[in-house]
């Protein structure tokens, strides 16, 4: 009798996991907080002017139209011309910032990682300290510097400034990568016939590719979205980048809300695409570069 297992298991009521549900509620709230404005933006962008001004607001457009987008992308009318120019300016500045950022950060990170030179720790630390200050703090000094260098109203001023902001993080991230790559790999390559530089280029640098990609993403997005410095350093209309251009552009004619939404949406497209395509490397970079093997 003792060996027979009870046929009926006692029913135990599983307690409601309050923490879990609270967590889920919080995440849902965060998601709505982020997504709703974007959804509203997209919905507005396909409305006509009149539909957009409705109060109470029309949630779902009754007559969705792509006119706003077409107008912005049409190079024959002035609006389109301006927008496309702003888009190109932003793209050009962000791309250059990214490329130059990588070109500078990679060797710098390698040097900080591998070499011992006087002032190394101080230099590395000061590079990080820069990150502690909000960007706006440097606005006046940098403007004066750019004016002294004759760079005001050029894209160069922006590229240089964005580099200054982006490099600390890039160097720090990449240094983490190089710290984790064993020096024996370079030594083996040098014995196998590579010069020190070849060993770096052919063996070590490829191993830091996730870091380079993450760095590029950061730099590009930082430059793409930047408003304050672009607003301050550029005054000529044909030079404007998207953030400034869109803002100026739309206060000229009383606010064309759907148009504004359409422009903003198109401005966010490259960023989202970049993230989606490269997110795998991004995550790898943040974990691999940080963990010490």
């Amino acid at each position: 009798m003792a060996a027979i297992e009870s046929a009926e298991r006692p029913v135990v009521k599983k307690p409601i996991d309050w923490w879990r549900w609270a967590g889920r509620a919080f995440l849902t709230f965060l998601m709505l907080f982020t997504v709703l404005p974007m959804a509203w933006m997209v919905l507005t962008s396909v409305k006509s002017q009149f539909a957009a001004m409705q109060y109470p607001p029309q949630w779902w457009p009754t007559e969705p139209t792509l006119n706003n987008y077409l107008k912005l992308l049409d190079p024959t009318n002035r609006v389109g011309q301006d927008f496309l120019r702003y888009f190109w300016n932003s793209f050009y500045v962000s791309l250059l910032t990214t490329i130059l950022g990588v070109v500078v950060a990679v060797p710098a990170a390698y040097a900080f990682s591998r070499f011992r030179f006087p002032g190394r720790n101080f230099l590395f630390f000061s590079v990080l300290v820069r990150n502690m200050f909000p960007a706006v703090v440097f606005l006046m000094p940098l403007f004066l510097l750019m004016r002294w260098m004759g760079l005001v109203n050029t894209h160069g001023s922006l590229i240089l400034t964005y580099l200054t902001f982006g490099l600390p993080l890039s160097i720090w991230l990449l240094k983490g990568f190089y710290d984790n790559i064993p020096i024996q790999l370079e030594q083996a390559a040098r014995i196998d016939g590579a010069t020190r530089f070849q060993a770096f280029l052919l063996i070590v640098m490829p191993l830091s590719t996730p870091g380079i990609i993450a760095t590029s993403i950061f730099s590009f997005i930082g430059a793409w979205n930047e408003y304050v410095y672009a607003y301050t350093f550029l005054s000529r209309d044909d030079q404007m980048t998207l953030p400034v251009g869109i803002q100026r552009f739309f206060t000229e004619f009383a606010t064309d809300w759907p148009g504004l939404m359409a422009a903003t949406f198109m401005m966010s497209v490259p960023v989202v695409v970049l993230f989606l395509v490269l997110q795998k490397y991004f995550v790898r970079a943040l974990t691999e570069g940080a963990v010490k093997h």
Binding site: P182, Q184, L185, Q187, A188, A189, R190, I191, D192, G193, A194, T195, Q198, I203, P206, L207
Partner: protein
């Protein structure tokens, strides 16, 4: 294959001398082990020979050619690292091919050399894999292969077996020894494991604190260590060392224990050595296989107390406190002995070592 000559090689970092005036010669086809505890300068010496770090002084020549100023790639050497240092993003084939590609050899020749090396090391079936898909032993063989394709003058190996588990280490030890034998290669091998050095090398260079202590065949280093460091480094369990005073009564010389007061008379030859000590103190060294334990006093024995007994199956090791120091004695497994027993340790006068108590150098008959 060539000989390697180090002459007064120095490497210092400020006031720290990592390699201090090291000189030795490696003959063609010899297997030389650089041994010593961590931090003794052996890996630094190897890196200097490879040219990975610049020398602070001295000359290194490989094959009658002074290589002081040459880059690693121009020294005709190949190196095997402790962590293998295989190129992670390349296949095994590409790893083996890389050194040949760097030398701009034609593709057909590269293919031929790589397949030959793969065959010698039995890794042909691994050529398409990535290093991370291989076991430790396989990675080790690929690392050896990458060195082999170069057909260098000298093979440098930096603790290649340290990352392997004990059983694999023993197996790879024989493989490397065969490798050396079949190729008649000149090998310089760094290790902190004296057993590896003793079993594999034709000559051992024992280093300590950046200074070369002794450079000789393992048999000689074992039988005639030049100082207490070398004496206690080579051999396992280590040689037992006891500090004693020299007392002379007329023509008889004995060693006296300051701790316990007993005296051990010395043979004529040992007496001559003892009297050559600088300050009248010596360190007596005896290997476990030369000592005997008796339950009662016999001539040439001194009292001691058993500390622990370690039966290993083949042989039993006993640690005995003699004059305040632990002495290792190996015994037949059937010998009955227990901790805290009072016993007598007998020294073999022909096979004991005497070192100067002050300088720790081996004493020679004056």
């Amino acid at each position: 294959m060539a000989e390697v000559v180090l002459k007064d090689v120095m490497k210092n970092y400020g006031s720290l001398y990592a390699v201090n005036n090291v000189s030795f010669t490696v003959e063609h086809g010899e297997f030389v082990a650089l041994v010593g505890p961590s931090g003794c300068g052996k890996t630094t010496t190897l890196n200097l020979i490879a040219g990975l770090i610049p020398m602070s002084g001295g000359d290194i020549s490989i094959g009658n050619c002074i290589v002081n100023e040459l880059d690693p790639k121009d020294r005709d050497i190949a190196m095997v690292f402790q962590n293998y240092a295989l190129y992670p993003n390349k296949s095994v084939f590409k790893n083996l091919a890389f050194p040949l590609q760097m030398r701009k050899l034609p593709k057909s020749e590269i293919e031929a050399k790589v397949t030959q090396a793969a065959r010698i090391l039995d890794i042909t079936h691994l050529l398409d894999r990535r290093p991370r898909e291989l076991s430790g032993g396989q990675q080790q063989r690929v690392a050896l292969g990458r060195a082999l394709v170069r057909d260098p003058a000298v093979f440098l190996m930096d603790e290649p077996l340290s990352n392997l588990d004990a059983k694999l280490r023993v197996a790879m030890r024989s493989e490397i020894k065969r490798f050396h034998h079949n190729l008649n290669a000149t090998v310089i091998y760094v290790t902190h494991d004296q057993l590896e050095a003793v079993t594999m090398a034709d000559k051992m260079a024992v280093m300590h604190g950046g200074v070369l202590q002794q450079y000789d065949s393992p048999a000689n280093v074992f039988a005639n260590p030049v100082n207490t460091f070398v004496a206690s480094f080579v051999g396992s369990p280590a040689m037992s060392l006891i500090s004693l005073e020299v007392v002379t009564k007329g023509t008889d010389v004995a060693l006296k224990s300051a701790e316990e007061g007993w005296e051990l008379p010395l043979s004529a030859e040992n007496a001559r050595k003892a009297t050559a000590s600088s300050q009248g103190t010596v360190v007596l060294g005896a290997r476990h296989s030369t000592l005997k334990i008796h339950k009662s006093q016999v001539p040439g024995s001194v009292p001691g107390r058993v500390y622990t007994v370690e039966p290993t199956g083949d042989v039993t090791f006993a640690q005995v406190f003699v004059s305040g120091e632990v002495v290792n004695v190996s015994l037949e497994p059937t010998f009955a002995i227990a901790p805290d027993e009072e016993v007598f340790v007998e020294f073999d006068q022909q096979r004991l070592h005497l070192f100067d108590g002050q300088t720790t150098n081996a004493l020679k008959a004056a």
